[in-house]
Symmetry: D2
Subunit: 325 residues, 4 copies
């Protein structure tokens, strides 16, 4: 069995190698292409999923921040998961973000995702309401796990939920078997090192970085993998980066990563005078995918604003400079 197949079956071998964990490797947070009228563009999404799988990614994270989960209605979320499970067809695990404010709402999403056959769910700390005491955060994750029963990835994304997951909370949930993995999108490298170092004792806990820009450092420190939004645009680059790290060729890894850092400039092509960070960042991904011929257009979920012609030209320049067009 391959690592991915093992992962899907939960057969962690526990031999101490990263590959033996529940999941490892590059797991892109998959973008959700839209039609002009703002509905999910099924053909584009299937094409995009195929593009990623062919490039060798190790899993698919649907309905994350890069997937515009926050912008999708419940019906649209259902549709995305159905398409992903069908297209993945067991080749790689499908993870589903179940992004919502508190426990009952998250459970509702998770049960809908489970019905559609996903392999795991990805859950943040509560947000909007200030129910983020460690006791409440633990109650949240435990309740979701208990009511849903699927493998659970904790999603540490303070920029969105305004709560950082405490290391002690993560360790306790991992020890109880409530969480199988954690995706760290906090850009706190000190916290990340502590996380990796302290979770080595849990054979089944996989630590992923949500960063696009320091995947080499994260893997050097011992992480199992990465969930980089930019892997939507250059999955081959991130797979190559992962393999270089796994083989211990750190100099090569750094060179690949440096190139990907330059490519990340596509997220800064929009004018800050005209639109916000989400429009600029996710808009950069979607515009690049459109220019690479993977998806049909770069429409964004409202109230985001799609990149205009001038901004699109800037994205094109970056792609050309980095040899992706």
């Amino acid at each position: 069995v391959t690592t991915e197949q093992a992962a899907r079956k939960g057969t962690a071998s526990g031999d101490g190698n990263p590959g033996s964990r529940w999941l490892s490797g590059i797991v892109p947070p998959v973008c959700t292409p839209f039609n002009e009228d703002g509905e999910v563009d099924a053909a584009s999404l299937e094409r995009h999923l195929g593009f990623l799988i062919e490039a060798g990614v190790h899993g698919l994270f649907m309905l994350g921040s890069s997937g515009e989960a926050a912008f999708l209605t419940d019906a649209q979320r259902d549709r995305v998961l159905e398409l992903a499970v069908k297209t993945a067809d067991g080749q790689v695990p499908v993870l589903a973000g179940v992004i919502d404010m508190t426990t009952s709402r998250v459970v509702d999403h998770a049960l809908r995702a489970k019905e559609r056959g996903v392999d795991a769910i990805v859950v943040t700390a509560p947000f909007y309401a200030r129910a983020n005491h460690p006791a409440e955060v633990k109650l949240h994750f435990r309740t979701v796990r208990h009511r849903v029963g699927l493998p659970l990835v904790a999603y540490d994304i303070p920029i969105a939920v305004h709560t950082k997951l405490d290391l002690a909370v993560v360790l306790e949930l991992a020890a109880e078997g409530v969480i199988e993995a954690i995706k760290d999108s906090s850009n706190d490298i000190h916290g990340f090192r502590a996380l990796v170092t302290n979770t080595r004792q849990f054979e089944k806990l996989s630590v992923f970085t949500g960063s696009e820009l320091v995947v080499d450092c994260a893997l050097f420190l011992g992480a199992e993998g990465a969930v980089p939004g930019l892997a939507n645009v250059d999955p081959h680059g991130y797979v190559a980066l992962y393999e270089s790290c796994r083989s211990g060729d750190w100099d090569k890894a750094r060179r690949i990563q440096d190139r990907l850092v330059r490519l990340f400039e596509i997220t800064a092509c929009a004018s800050p005078a005209k639109k916000g960070a989400s429009s600029s960042g996710l808009g950069g991904f979607k515009t690049a995918l459109m220019l690479r011929g993977v998806i049909a257009q770069n429409t964004m979920g409202l109230p985001q604003i799609a990149l205009d012609a001038k901004e699109t030209a800037a994205v094109r320049s970056v792609l050309e400079r980095e040899g992706l067009l």
Copy 2:
């Protein structure tokens, strides 16, 4: 016709008095009582709504932060609105919070609320995703208004959504007729004064404070009313405060407000070592309502944690000291 009836019909007379605006007065953000199993306790909710209406409140704001909107499933939200519209029965307007992350999700909630017969919807800035550029915030409110067609109250609550509504954005939306009112829960008294002063030109824009503690100041500055969570517990107090302000008896207003400030201590009876700010604050309201015999129990939406016996005793002491038991 009474002010409230005029308000419900949108017949602002434009004579420059606060009472002529779309809505004015005390509009409690109504708590949502739960059964032990976490479902909406219909009998308690009806009793609570009756308690508020009898006390003379001028409107009912369902599914706000104090109503634990963030903790309710869609089915529970529907249920709350059905009970409120039925119980209010046209005596006072019913406003519905449609709290969600971005435009399409908010519209879905709003259309469900509209079907249930509410008089207006209450909408925050986008959250979770960073789609909070002024252009995006305006697009958000305009789209919701256009697709839903109900009167719209802008809800400025940076502590929850981490975006402050710009004064310029509010003025532009008011001038366009996109918003009928604003609830300011930002605790920025400078911004509030600027808001009140600058919106006097719009006959139909009602400015409400979301504060429990400076309603006297807010009305002194020219606000139309208040949406104080504590009015769940002491609606008579807030109605009396409002009437003192309207009659220009500022000394009496301050004395009533000072008493309500002391009563607000019920929100600080929980141990910060055991639970978060939401459990403590909303838990204080619900526990007081239970002790006053209005609702059956003080269960909280998960992952909040209800006040325990010791904390409940502390709430009781405050209620007794202030003559509410």
Copy 3:
């Protein structure tokens, strides 16, 4: 004896009136005029102090944020205090900001100020270093008081020092007699109300707001006075506002305050693309004083950037509109 003379002698009468406290009224945080070469312009400062005293202000706060204390060398600070004590000549009390990072440095400044004959010192929480635990904040104020021996005003300015003074800390220090007064520049109206309400028990504790924009509200709530930077430019307006509040004419107070709110636009005439908040705000004050003929020029302490011709014209327009030119 007048209130001010009583204040200077510390003869609080304890009859429960605000006037009986250590200090009350309008105490401008006096701007520091510079020559072109960045040295203190003694003639302009003396003229400015005379302008304020003649307008009837109740005290002078030298070397506060508006006085650019952060931008002055120790020698310049000495010079400012010498000029202030000489010019005030016992007519009103002179307070000296002793702004620095931690205890020993503050004590050094305070002893220099004491030698120059000031009536009181104004002390913030520690900053730069994270020595802001309540125990440390209390140790800081106690040590300064003990080593210096002058009346001490606590200066609560989180925007500068990034620590909010806890109400409990303030109450404890007031009860011990460590602080005579507090200047609250936190723009936290809830905290301010709690402060005023809870400190009424201390006959000798004077509560001042540092706000320019809600002096009417602050006095309505029971504060003894205000330390508004804008009183540099329109001391007559603030003295009139104070007197209206003291006589209970709240409607007149609000009208005066509303005019002062409009005047405050002089602090927003600079281009945010070209300079920061300090240059814009203090630059607005200095430019207005220059245009009113009180000081010779609007030079700022480095690295602030003085208002240019276009920005100066914008300040002039506001002054003209409000009848100050």
Copy 4:
């Protein structure tokens, strides 16, 4: 000539190796030992400086955050520099922090430091006042450089000054020759990677991390060295870490760094209920130095609170566990 000697003479060879830059290696931010009465303990400081130099550190940074610059009077700062220059005696360069709020005050400190013979000064962005527009930050550094004339290290420490140095500002100042080096204490690994990558074009700009915990990552990314507070306690460890990185033995580097991460627990031995972050962190360093026999006692600058007996025992346990006692 050695690297350090070259560095002191500013003879960067420009051959593209990190060693050819102005300065590279481990440059501890040296602690300042106090007597019981809070004065500088000269004997302890000389012993400590000797301990560091013998361990092979590549420079000495006096009067940084770890040196309690914020807690020292001007006279004490002078004393520290005199002792450092005398003890270093040309063996390694001596850098002096000139920490103060704005330009004129920083220049005053810098001229005093220059008189005492230091090799370079270390300057933060302005703080306390909001004079932190990029134009103002640049004016600040340029003015200090122009008036003082010594090599200048930019110190990026947002946790203290609440301003992050923009990459564009740093690049512009480096291109102009205003700054020779930068110490990045921002714990922003994305920003750090961008900084290192973009400054490779400047032969003479040295990039240092201020982190104790990811020196291996920082050097992997291309930094010239580190300024870790923990190097006060274990200079041999950091020098060995640096040499492993320079020789490309990343696995060894990571093992050493992992040990130093565990050692860093000495900064978390104090009770957060009793004292703040500075007391706990710097107190951990000083207590460890006392236990290792390097300095006489662990007195802290006021209002910090020294570690008590129980907290000291916790530090001892960590030192014993890591083989440093």
